[in-house]
Amino acid sequence: MHNPQLNDHGELTHLLSTDGLPREILTQILDIASSFLEVSDRDVKKVPLLRGKSVFNLFFENSTRTRTTFEIAAKRLSADVINLDVGRSSTAKGETLLDTIDNLVAMHADMFVVRHGSSGAPYLIVDHLHRIGRTDVHVVNAGDGRHAHPTQGLLDMYTIRHYKKDFANLTVAIVGDILHSRVARSDIHALTTLGVGEVRAVGPQTLLPTALEKMGVRVCHDLQDGLKGCDVVIMLRLQNERMNGTLLPSAREYFSCYGLTPKTLALAKPDAIVMHPGPMNRGVEIDSEVADGPQAVILPQVTFGIAVRMAVMSILAGN
């Protein structure tokens, strides 16, 4: 099957998912991100790679944080950034997703950064751009439903590589609501492609998708079992609406079983790092002492996120 992210030469033209991306491309993105990291430390935090290009932030679902990081990344590449809060404008008037795209293409958009509540929405956009013959317009998936959040997955890989140097022989535990998490899926595909030793998915059955082991992970229902001897712990956010109902009885019970505390973290390797895609629920999935502790790398993740998004946008614009 044709991979819609790649062009006929196997180069990345859209970033839709870490699933199906070859190792070389993942590594290329991380390497280029590395070179962009120092741009953010300069007095003049800009490079001219996207000068004259228009990047449209198309957020059908609200997310100030993610949108801001994309905006900063695009601006550091000297692009013109247009933020559209689509949730509140055109679609509310009945315009379809593809009508919106047609209009923005007519405004000479060069790149769309898309966040959508429905899994697969960016694929529909890419398909449409193909149909109307606009293969020069690029799409970056900034999170679609439960499916993927590839730039988050990549910045997680960047963070792991930064602290652990090499992916081989690492044990990575992903803890929490994997069922609804696009971050978890993007992490799992990237980690298995980059060849880590073991990926563990930790959570109760109600929060784990069916046939998860087919994605190459070991499923653990017990936190102790899941954390034992691991090098990296990725905690996932538990959405408020899922804290009490049919998935979980209460946030309190969840924390008692799956919350990361200094005591449970002690089961991991002493030099294990703790990651979280944010925003955190302190006291629900993670104890403040851990979140603010020496093993947490949650704020560096944010910094690396800018560099990774700059890398992705510059690669797409060049292909």
Binding site: M1, S119, G120, G145, T210
Partner: protein, 422 residues
């Protein structure tokens, strides 16, 4: 058109006659007089054909009978039916408005009769407005022409309503069709709860949504003695339950859609909304079990024809409308299945002719002398490529678009009239 009936006499010569109902597969001529099959093999006395159809290299079989055809536009869809060799269709009640009023049923029959294409057999709504709360007027609807009752895809939340509906239908010997899917277990789901949905982040519909509903339907059917037909099985576990119920003596029938015989969850690919079905496409082993059920005659095969306009599919997967256009693909996809499964045509064609006719209880699907001459003549070897232009249906929505098909309808007759030919 109807005036020619008594005078038109047709000789179909040189064809290979396949009539599964009567176990016939032989090179034989067929003679039609006054809209009925007058003779097979030897011409009847004093026979002078007003028309001779040369079926050399072709198969002559009963017109196909489709258990589920949605008819958003009567003329376009019934033209599509006869172009696909389908001469009788059962229309589910989820029309707009639903078929819960005798007047609506009479109107549908009158309008389709006037077109003189495929015959239409309406399925009445089991409950008013298909709301699953109050019984529809089943006796009046039957007098108006309904041949069975169903909820189409609408749920009955209250199991007592289902029990009462079955009791009432059983009183008069009416048949009930249910598409077995527990509404609560399937809630929010858009794809089979398995590997592909997990990977794509699509909410899953578990197999137990089907098995729980089958179990309830079979238990209540046993209790009430109603004639039960389970529509669109999708899973191996569902097939196993129906097999067991039949073994235990329950008079239950079932069907599978032609799409589910060929496709599985992997055909969703990268969120292809054309592969969104209800029930969902399940795993490869589920598909194998459906094929086995169709091969051994447990299940009939239908098109589950659901035309959807382009806008209804140009949406993210979970928001796109379900279903595919299937009338014009029922025959070629049945032939494809027969070839892949190495089934005799006599067996495969039974699933789309006499078996569904028996389930519906209609006089169709047979080439016996004296029967209405509803006939499909097709070239089993002619290749063709599926393009939007070659579909007469309003719905161009099919995951098989662009595929090479084998087997093409040459002539379709309804009551001895040629209603389609190329």
């Amino acid at each position: 058109m109807r005036d020619d009936l008594n005078t038109s006499t047709i000789h179909i010569k040189n064809g290979r006659l396949i009539d599964p109902k009567n176990g016939v597969d032989a090179q034989s001529d067929l003679f039609i007089v006054a809209g009925r099959i007058a003779a097979i093999g030897q011409a009847p006395a004093n026979f002078t054909p007003t028309r001779t159809l040369d079926a050399s290299g072709c198969i002559v079989c009963p017109g196909l009978v489709d258990l589920s055809t949605r008819l958003p536009g009567l003329e376009s869809e019934l033209s599509a039916a006869v172009a696909g060799g389908v001469t009788a269709v059962a229309c589910p009640p989820d029309t707009k408005p639903p078929l819960d009023e005798p007047g609506l049923v009479e109107r549908m029959i009158r309008r389709s009769d006037a077109l003189g294409l495929a015959r239409v057999y309406p399925i009445g709504a089991l409950t008013q407005q298909l709301a699953g709360e109050k019984l529809a007027e089943m006796a009046s609807l039957t007098r108006a022409g309904c041949i069975a009752f169903s909820q189409a895809k609408q749920p009955i939340f209250d199991t007592q309503v289902l029990l009462r509906a079955m009791q009432y239908a059983a009183t008069y010997g009416y048949a009930i069709r249910l598409q077995p899917q527990d509404h609560y277990l399937a809630r929010d789901g858009v794809a089979h709860d398995g590997e592909v949905a997990s990977r794509l982040g699509l909410a899953g519909i578990p197999v137990c949504a089907e098995t729980v509903a089958i179990a309830i339907a079979c238990l209540l059917a046993k209790e009430t003695g109603v004639r039960l037909h389970l529509a669109r099985l999708s899973s191996a576990a569902g097939v196993a339950l129906v097999r067991e119920a039949k073994r235990n003596g329950l008079k239950v029938t079932c069907d599978v859609s032609i799409h589910h015989l060929h496709l599985s969850e992997v055909d969703i690919g990268y969120f292809d909304s054309l592969a969104r079905f209800d029930p969902p496409l399940r795993s490869g082993s589920d598909r194998d079990a459906l094929r086995a059920a169709a091969a051994d005659g447990l299940a009939a095969v239908c098109s589950d024809h659901t035309p959807v306009d382009e806008d209804g599919k140009l949406l993210p997967f979970a928001e796109a409308l379900v279903g595919a256009s299937g009338l014009e693909l029922l025959l070629p996809l049945t032939l494809k299945w027969a070839e892949e499964a190495k089934l005799p045509l006599l067996t495969a064609l039974a699933r789309v002719t006499c078996d569904p006719a028996d389930i519906l209880g209609i006089a169709a699907g047979s080439l016996a002398v004296g029967r209405p001459a509803d006939i499909c003549i097709f070239d089993p070897n002619e290749p063709w490529r599926l393009t939007p232009e070659c579909l007469r249906s309003q719905g161009k929505n099919t995951p098989f678009m662009g595929y090479e098909m084998t087997g093409r309808v040459r002539t379709t007759l309804v009551e001895g009239r040629v209603v389609f030919e190329i």
